[in-house]
């Protein structure tokens, strides 16, 4: 090639990034990497190793230790040993370390960027310009949370030893997202990087140690899925944080069920990219490029479902194809490419198979002309049109550079199609009409919505999904809570077994006036309805008196109640002021009958009248508390480094199942139902199995309190069996269960169908009279989803 050649062709030529320093570092570990535990390298206990490859060239990069149960144990023990000193260091001490990590990342940013590009196959341009700045920013931001932890989170404590499992698509960035908040807030960490991409984590650990991070605070154990499983199963782990596939997320939920380990999951997605006819189409085209061809489409929040308003669809697709023709695919270290290599041949195969399937189902394939490098795992940018919601490629997460395109007619239809997915991670909305964009955003089931933008990330803005895209947030204050636990709950004791109730005393017959029979039905869709099975169960007082009968609810009653709740979803859209009014009205009507409720509590539970009155009084207060919170538990305006804002909106989760504890039959019920209802959720509640009459007596109160039909549904019966039906129901979005340890375990285990949010007490008894344990943000935070709506602006 000569100057003249380039002058005539005006082609770019290659511009390779130097990799000398990285090769030298790899050479210094040519014998193979160990695990990084307790501040030093440890050879794998088993002696087993595996290789990590350079996907861009299909060459071996390094020998990596395969973690065994012994290695995991060593790492967890080191983390546990370091925990006390790390917490004792205090917020400011940890802030200094986090700040040091941020500086360390910046100091070595090119080394990290080149190594990441080599190990993962992603373009150096992206590691250099996107990943590394975000990594440094994450440590800076969380140095700040450490600094102000004591004042900002006074009622919360660190969780303890955290096991973290991260994916291969953003190896170093995911490490930062995981360890920055964990370490900042006083936890210690054992992290397992992905099998395909362990190198930047190992480099990070080595450099962090050199930068003065105390030993044992951050431990890296490498290995495959079996190593991850050992980490998850380790008894001294207090929390698992996972980013990866929904399939593995389900396994982790199941494995940790009933263990008391906290769990956050950031899983897959099939995120919609919605373009309205009043969008800046060329801007949206670049958005698509950033959405699906960023990182070869191997992005959990990739905008992979293009939804186009019919009027502009043809023009948009023509523009998009033209734009695809200018994308450059090649050596990840070349600074003039847009797309590098797919992480591994197995992923490449998967992408190929799914695209073939799409084509065989009738999709039209478009890939730009041009050749791919001869060696390495490369796949061209791909567009599939003539795709419908029923096509496999419109449903399955492809995790590659493959976009599917569909059309819509109206904003409502756009929302409907966008939400027609099991996932709910992210969405992108393109319209120049502010009213339209801001109207659509809250209607989308997604944890992140970008208006006229896509794939924006920042340490100050929470990231995480709805539905089967997982739960928990990473980044921002909302993300900090994922590494904290309520201090008040730490004092909870195991619930004492209640004494068996006596046999019911048979009623005496005779010619006295009998008491009028009281058989409570179920409360479904605003109506008192007979239980499907038409059985009832007697409610016996501790003295053996039969106080009444309640319906014996079964699966079908739960099904009907969930359907009623779903059709009452409008509750989530009424104004917060309106919800507050209704809760006040509920309190007012309960107050009018407080003597009667106190009497029933006293009779049912055998408690003193004074205590029973206190329970009613506290219940009324609690309703007031949630009426107060209804319009005050507000969102936040985040200020990421851009011209624009991110609105952290608190939205209702949807349909919640609530299993109430046996103790405090009225207060327990109200403490759990009121926060859910205050936040706009619709509830199917299973009241205290032993003392349900306080709940069934509420039917009339609810009916007179203007609570819309279906917002609160009550099914009496066996807590465990009804709880299981709720946990398994795929149209229930959350379940709270307070009761036996067995109930907690079953709820968590069975929640995997749709990965519903769960809040369980693991059989530990809550003090319902203590406001710190029983009301406020501690519950409200579990009654909402936080959606971050990014709004860049400017004219």
């Amino acid at each position: 090639m000569s100057v003249a050649h380039y002058f005539d062709t005006m082609t770019y030529g290659s511009a390779p990034e130097a990799d000398k320093e990285v090769r030298a570092w790899l050479q210094s570990h040519a014998d193979g990497f160990g695990h990084f535990i307790d501040g030093q390298w440890h050879a794998p206990h088993s002696g087993h190793t595996f290789e990590t490859k350079e996907p861009g060239r299909d060459k071996i990069l390094a020998k990596i230790a395969q973690g065994s149960v012994e290695d995991v144990h060593l790492a967890v023990a080191a983390a546990k040993a370091a925990l006390g000193s790390w917490q004792h260091l205090g917020g400011h001490g940890r802030a200094r370390h986090l700040y040091g990590l941020a500086r360390m990342v910046q100091r070595h940013s090119r080394l990290f960027a080149v190594l990441e590009s080599l190990d993962n196959g992603k373009p150096i341009r992206e590691t250099r310009d996107i990943d590394l700045p975000l990594v440094a920013r994450h440590f800076y931001h969380h140095a700040g949370w450490a600094q102000i932890q004591e004042s900002e989170f006074p009622d919360y404590s660190p969780i303890g030893v955290v096991g973290q499992i991260i994916p291969w698509n953003f190896p170093l960035l995911m490490l930062a997202w995981k360890i920055a908040p964990a370490l900042a807030l006083g936890n210690t960490v054992v992290l397992k990087p992905a099998e395909f991409t362990p190198l930047t984590a190992l480099l990070f650990a080595e450099l962090a140690h050199k930068a003065g991070l105390p030993k044992g605070v951050l431990n890296i154990v490498t290995g495959d899925g079996s190593t991850g499983a050992q980490l998850v199963d380790h008894p001294d782990i207090n929390k698992i944080a996972f980013t990866g596939s929904t399939e593995v997320g389900r396994i982790l939920r199941e494995r940790t069920a009933g263990t008391g380990k906290a769990l956050t999951l950031e899983l897959g997605g099939k995120s919609p990219f919605i373009v309205f006819d009043d969008a800046d189409l060329d801007g949206a085209i670049e958005g698509v490029v950033d959405a699906i061809w960023f990182n070869q489409g191997q992005v959990c929040c990739a905008g992979s479902r293009l939804l186009l308003q019919e009027g502009i669809a043809e023009r948009f697709i023509a523009k998009l194809k033209r734009r695809m023709d200018t994308l450059r695919i090649g050596d990840p270290l070349d600074k003039t490419i847009d797309m590098g290599a797919i992480v591994a041949p197995v992923q490449l195969e998967r992408i190929k198979n799914l695209v073939e399937k799409g084509v065989s189902e009738g999709a039209e394939l478009y890939q730009p002309q041009g050749t791919l490098p001869a060696t390495g795992s490369y796949y061209p940018p791909t567009l599939l049109t003539n795709v419908f919601p029923s096509s496999t490629v419109a449903v399955e997460e492809i995790f590659g550079p493959v976009l599917v395109s569909m059309t819509f007619r109206t904003p409502d239809e756009a929302v409907m199609l966008a939400n027609n997915s099991r996932y709910g991670l992210a969405a992108s909305v393109w319209s120049e009409t502010i009213g339209l964009a801001l109207d659509i955003s809250p209607k989308l089931k997604a944890g992140v919505v970008w208006i006229n933008a896509t794939n924006l990330f920042d340490a100050s803005v929470g990231f995480g999904g709805y539905r089967e895209s997982g739960f928990g947030r990473e980044g921002g204050k909302e993300g900090a809570y994922a590494y904290l636990k309520p201090t008040a709950w730490a004092k909870r004791k195991r619930r004492m077994a209640l004494p068996e109730l006596p046999q019911a005393i048979e009623k005496k017959d005779g010619f006295d006036f009998p008491e009028i029979d009281r058989t409570a039905k179920l409360f479904v869709g605003g109506k008192q309805v007979r239980p499907d099975g038409n059985y009832s169960r007697p409610i016996v007082s501790p003295k053996g008196e039969v106080l009444g009968e309640v319906g014996e609810g079964n699966r079908k009653d739960i099904r009907n109640a969930v359907a009623a709740a779903r059709s009452a979803e409008g509750w989530g859209k009424v104004t917060a002021h309106n919800r507050a009014q209704i809760l006040y009205y509920w309190a007012e009507n309960l107050s009018a009958r407080s003597d009667e409720f106190a009497q029933t509590i006293s009779k049912m539970t055998g408690t003193s009248k004074a205590i029973a009155r206190k329970e009613v009084e506290t219940s009324i207060r609690r309703l007031f508390t949630y009426a107060a919170w209804a319009d005050k538990y507000e969102g936040t305006v985040h200020t990421p480094p851009m011209r624009g804002v991110a609105l952290a909106m608190k939205e209702p989760i949807g349909i919640a199942g609530i299993i109430c504890p046996n103790e405090a039959p009225l207060l327990g019920f109200i403490s759990l139902v009121a926060p859910m209802v205050a936040m706009g959720n619709c509830v199917v509640a299973v009241p205290s199995e032993r003392h349900p009459l306080s709940a069934t007596d509420l039917y009339q109160v609810l009916e007179t309190s203007d609570i819309p039909a279906g917002v609160i549904n009550i099914v009496t019966g066996d807590s465990l069996s009804l709880g299981k039906v709720l946990a398994e129901h795929d149209d229930v979005d959350a379940v709270w269960a307070f009761g036996s340890a067995e109930l907690s375990a079953e709820i968590e285990r069975l929640s995997i169908g749709n990965l519903k949010r769960t809040l369980v007490d693991q059989g530990l008894e809550t003090d319902w009279y203590d406001p710190k344990s029983a009301e406020g943000a501690i519950f409200l935070s579990h009654a909402v989803e936080i959606k971050n709506i990014w709004i860049p602006y400017g004219e």
Binding site: M10, G13, D280
Partner: protein
């Protein structure tokens, strides 16, 4: 081709040399005129009927534009020989400009001399480009110096561009503007850089803008017309986009960002917005309109970013002087230094390159 008449060997050689020069010149001129007529027999832009529908649905999102222009310089780069070649190409696209109140005929002639030989010959030879003609795309002056520039550049094929229509504010009477255009064309200007009446844009009077532009186009006759939008005055990208479309609809051969006299000069976001309109116009009409960023482009690195934008958004054709010009005065000196650095491996200094 001229016949060689031999008298003696020395004359013979001289004549061959002359003829070769002529030949090269003719080729160059014919190439230039090819460009002016549009390559491959493509039609020059001509006024289309006014259609408000072409403007109504134009939307531009500033943040999205900035994201593209912010990331592109990191996505594309040229190194070594490729970089030298791209910079040489950039020189051929420069409208070497002097638009100062203290301009004189001698100053303009000095600039013309530089336009003819913008790069030191030894550098061109070292780059393996000694056999190519590297000249700037045009000379750009006020009407008063058109005749002198035409004379100084005569036979070179380098067109003279005149700024016109009451440049830079454009607030003289309409008929005076038309007269000014005609005068410059009469003096031999092959290109006229007109300024639009910003008021028409700021008040949304698109029909008035169209009428004005169409009249300018007509007054230019065979000369090509570049419409200066003064983007620093019309501010918003939506205004920029709509004004671009209206000017093309009214027959502009080029759309140009700035006079160089506004407070804000050419920027990548403004340029991207204009390029997208050029592309949409081509989609509607099949006609390729040229683009000229002007003002503030003074570093080699800057012009490369504009070239990347041209290539990525519009394609290879828009890297040649028939569709791409850069209005600049000090850019050339920086490019010369970069080229010398490429050749010698040492950083260069301004005094090693002749001034224009």
């Amino acid at each position: 081709m001229t016949q060689v008449r031999t008298h003696n060997f020395r004359d013979y050689l001289t004549e061959i040399a002359d003829n070769l020069t002529n030949l090269r010149m003719t080729t160059l001129v014919s190439l230039k005129s090819d460009y002016q007529e549009g390559k491959g027999g493509q039609a020059r832009n001509a006024p289309m009927p006014f259609d408000i529908g072409w403007i109504d649905d134009i939307r531009v999102n500033l943040s999205a534009v900035e994201r593209r222009t912010g990331s592109l310089p990191g996505r594309r780069t040229v190194k070594k020989d490729a970089q030298a070649a791209w910079l040489l190409k950039a020189i051929t696209c420069i409208d070497l400009t002097t638009l100062a109140g203290d301009d004189t005929e001698a100053r303009v002639r000095r600039l013309c001399a530089k336009a003819l030989r913008p790069v030191r010959e030894d550098i061109l030879v070292s780059l393996g480009m000694g056999d190519r003609t590297i000249q700037t795309g045009a000379i750009c002056v006020y009407h008063r110096y058109v005749a002198a520039a035409v004379d100084a550049l005569s036979g070179s094929g380098i067109p003279v561009a005149a700024v016109s229509t009451g440049f830079p504010a454009g607030l003289v009477p309409h008929d005076v503007k038309l007269r000014e255009i005609e005068a410059s064309v009469n003096d031999g200007a092959q290109e006229i850089d007109i300024v639009i009446t910003r008021e028409h844009v700021l008040t949304g009077n698109w029909k008035a803008l169209y009428d004005e532009m169409r009249d300018f186009r007509q007054a230019c006759g065979k000369a090509h017309v570049k419409a200066i939008l003064a983007t620093g005055d019309i501010k918003t990208l939506r205004n920029v986009a709509k004004a671009s479309m209206v000017c093309m609809m009214a027959g502009a051969d080029f759309i140009k960002t700035s006079t160089g006299k506004e407070t804000a000069n050419a920027t990548l976001p403004v340029s991207l917005t204009m390029l997208r309109m050029i592309r949409d116009y081509q989609d509607r009409t099949g006609i390729k309109v040229g683009f000229k960023p002007a003002g503030g482009i003074s570093a080699a690195k800057d012009v490369l970013n504009y070239q990347f934008l041209m290539k990525e958004e519009l394609g290879r054709d828009w890297l040649e002087p028939d569709l791409f010009r850069v209005g600049a005065s000090s850019l050339l000196a920086d490019i010369e230094r970069q080229l010398e650095h490429h050749v010698t491996g040492r950083y260069s200094a301004y005094n090693r390159h002749s001034v224009g």
